[in-house]
Amino acid sequence: MSTTLFLIQLLNGVQLGLLLFLISAGLTLVFGVMGFINLAHGVQYMIGAYLLVAFYSVTGHFMAAMLLAMLAALVIGLLLETFIFRHLYDRDHLDQVLVTFGIIIFLNQLVKVIWGATPLTLDPPEFLSGSFQLVEGLMYPTYRVAIIIAGLAIALLLWLLVTRTKLGMLVRAGSTNAEMVSALGVNIHRLFMIVFGFGAMLAGFAGALAAPIFSAEPGMGDDLLIVAFVVIIIGGIGSIRGAFIAAILVGLVDTLGRSMVTDILKLFMDASAANQIGPALASMAIYVLMAAVLFFKPTGLFPVRAAR
C-alpha cells in the first residue's frame, strides 16, 4: 500500500475514532455515574442525523440546523430521562436492557414512518465542501477535516469540563461512588439529568456530523451502539480518558483492518483464500481486541472502580 493511501486511512481511522468518542463519552458517563445500561444511546445518534436533515430542509442553513438539532437532541434526551429512565436506575441491569431495547424498536420504526425507509442524503455546507491539500499529493475532503477538528475540540472541552470544574468534580465523584456523593448533600437526581442530557446531546451531535458522510437511515445507530460499547468496555466504564483512547484505538483498528488485513493475509496464503477470510477477520478485529483486553484486564484499560 502506498504511503498516501495509508495516510488517508489513518485519517479516516482517527475521524471514525472521534465520532465514536462523541457517542461513547455519554454512554460511559451514564453507565459509570448511574450504573445504567442505555441501549437507546445509538438511537439518539440516529435521531441527531435525522434532526439535522429535517432542520436543514426547514432553515436551509447548515450551521443553524446543526445548532437546532443539538438542542432538540438535548430536549429529547431530557424527556426520555424524566419519563422513563429515571424509574430504572435502581432496577436490575436486565430490566434496563429490555426497556431501552423497547425504545430502540419504537424509535427505529417511528423514524421509518416519518421519513421513510430509504436513506436521506445531505450535502456538507458550501464552505466545507471540496478537498483540502494536507501535504504534497494528498487531498482530503474538507468536511472530514472539519469533523476531526470538531471532535478534538469537543474532547478538549469535555476534558476541561470534567477535570477543571465543580460539575466535573461531582461527575467524577459520582462515577466512583454515587451514594456517597448523594449523602454529602448533592442533588444526585439533578446531576443524573445533566449527565444524561449532555450525553444525549453529544450522541445527537455525532449523528448530525455523520449525516453528510454516511446519510441518515433507520437503524443506523444499532451497529454503532455495539461498537460504542466495545469502546467503553475497552476503556473502562466511567472513564472519559479511557473512552477517548479506546475510541481512537478502535477507530484505527477497524479502518486500517478493513484496508490492510486482506493484503497482509496474501503474504502467506493464496489470494482467493485471503479474499474470503480477510473481510471477516477485519470486521472481527475490534471484537478480538476487546476480548483480548478483557482477558488481560477484566475491567478495561482504565478502570474507575471495581465492576459491580
Binding site: 436486565l94 423497547g102 471484537y287 465492576a307
Partner: protein, 311 residues
Amino acid sequence: MRGANLAALVIFVLLAATPWLAEFWGGSYLTSLVMKAMILGIAALSLDLLIGHAGMVSFGHAAFVGIGAYTTGIMITEGAPNLAHILPMTIAIAAAFALITGAISLRTSGVYFIMITLAFGQMVFFTMSSLSDYGGDDGLTLWERADAFGTGLFDSDTGLFYTILATLITVTLLLRRLIGSRFGRVLRAAKQNPTRVESMGYSVFAYRLTAYVIAGIIAALAGVLFANQAEFVSPATAAWQRSGDLIIMVVLGGMGLRHGALFGALAIVLLEEGLSTLTHDWRLIFGPMLVLMVLYTKGGIAGLLEKRGET
C-alpha cells in the same frame, strides 16, 4: 397443581393438537409459526439456565443457534444429510466453542460478562457472513431437510412438528431435573454468593463453565431444528438483536421460574404475529408494550401465574 404447571400442561396439549387444529384454521402457516415458537422456546429455556439460575447474562446466545443451523446447512449441502452425523458434529462444535469462549468470558463478571459474550457472538456472526461458499451475507437455502436416521420423519411437516415438540418436552424435563439436582443448587448458591460457595470447596468456575456448555449445546440443537424448519440459514440467525430477543423472552416469561422461558417465547412470537396483522407498523405498539411490561410487571408471565396459583 400450581398455576404455572397447569398453564404449561394446557400449552403442551394445545401444542400437540396444533397440526389437527391447523386443518380448520391457519393451515401450514399456523404449524410453521408454532414450530418457530417452540424452537425459540428451546433456545430460551437453555438461556434461562444461564440467566435465571446461574446469574450469567449471556448476550451472545444466538451464536449457538447459528452454529447449529450452519452445521446442519453445510452438512446437508455437502452431502452428509443424516442426523446420525449432523447431531454429533453440532454437539462437538457447540461444546468446543462454549468451552473456549466460556472459559475466557468467565474471567469477567457483571456487565463485562454481558459485553464479552456479545463480542464472541459478533465473531460468529461475521464468520458466517464470510462463508461465501455457503451464501455469505445472503444466507444458504437448503434444498432438502436432514435425513432423520433413515426414517423419513422430517419429510413431512407433521413429522418435523412432533420431533420439535418432543425435543421441547425432553429439554423441559431435562433442565428441570438438572436445576433440581445438586448441580443446580450449587449454581443458584453461587449466583447469590460466589465467595461462600467457593469457600465450601466448590469450584464456581467449573460449575458455571459446565452450565455454559450445556446451554450452548441445547441452543445449537434448537439451531439444527431451525435450519430444518426454515429450510434456510443466514447470518441473521446469530445477529446480536436475536440474542436480545432471547433475553426478552427469558425475562418477560419470568427469569428462573418454572416454564417461564417457554411462556415468554410463545407470548413474544404470538404477540409479534398478532400485532403485525393489525398494522404494518406493529413495532410502534410492540416497543412501548415492552417498556410498560418491564416497568409494571415483576417476575414476568410465570410470576403472575404463580401468584394466581397460590391464592
